[in-house]
């Protein structure tokens, strides 16, 4: 008997790397969930921003050679973008979750609609028009 495939999906696009900030707040957690969903949908491949922060040679090289780097930050602190820029990696798209109308904390809760908001924003390319220059550092 012929086995009928349940899914005939093609591969993910190899040229796009996604760095979520994965911060502790609801918005940071949302950035991570959105990046996972985007990976499942074939948008690109999620990568570890902490590994980028320590300057992992392989990951920095992969990010440099990627067709497109997408950074998803949870809030205006833009930690993931700062990490990327510090390693010389310039994002082609930068999405900030709080800019999409999702409030940061104090609750850790989020809804499936919140994830969809972030995921669809990336697919629409809303962060491509964002200012991708070096953000101002925090005042100590």
């Amino acid at each position: 008997m012929t086995k009928i495939p349940t899914c005939t999906c093609g591969e993910n696009e190899p040229g796009r790397i996604i760095f979520p900030c994965a911060g502790q707040a609801n918005t940071g957690q949302l950035s991570n969930l959105a990046a996972v969903e985007l990976t499942e949908e074939g948008y690109g491949s999620i990568a570890c921003v902490a590994k980028l922060a320590i300057g992992d040679e392989g990951l920095v090289k992969s990010a440099m050679n990627a067709d497109e780097v997408v950074v998803i930050d949870g809030c205006p602190l833009q930690c993931a973008k700062k990490i990327a820029l510090a390693q010389g990696v310039v994002p082609a798209q930068h999405v900030i979750v709080t800019d999409l109308g999702i409030g940061k904390g104090p609750s850790k809760s989020y809804t499936p609609d919140d994830i969809e908001t972030v995921v669809s924003a990336c697919w629409r390319g809303v962060g491509k028009s964002a200012d991708l220059s070096d953000p101002p550092g925090r005042q100590e």
């Binding site: 899914c7 005939t8 093609g10 696009e13 697919w123 629409r124 390319g125």
Partner: protein, 78 residues
């Protein structure tokens, strides 16, 4: 009216392509009918080996991946 068909068996990638097509059509303000085709028989009949697949007015334009909204807008304009 443009006829757009999204072929897929209903997984995350197929759903996203369908959503992106709707978004692109909305952005362009074009008159189009968007259909979701999830019948495996239909996929086999059309020779689609890799999903999701996109047909515009009966022509296969994309297969095996999801296009971004921008890419779809360019495709629909062309």
């Amino acid at each position: 009216m443009t006829k757009i068909e999204v072929l897929g068996t209903g997984c995350a990638k197929c759903k996203r392509l369908y959503a992106n097509v709707q978004e692109a059509v909305k952005s362009l303000g074009m008159e189009a009918e968007v259909f979701k085709v999830d019948s495996l028989d239909e996929l086999i009949e059309r020779g689609v080996m890799s999903t999701p697949a996109l047909y515009i007015d009966g022509t296969l334009r994309l297969s095996g991946r999801v296009a971004t909204v921008d890419e779809l807008i360019r495709m629909l304009r062309g």
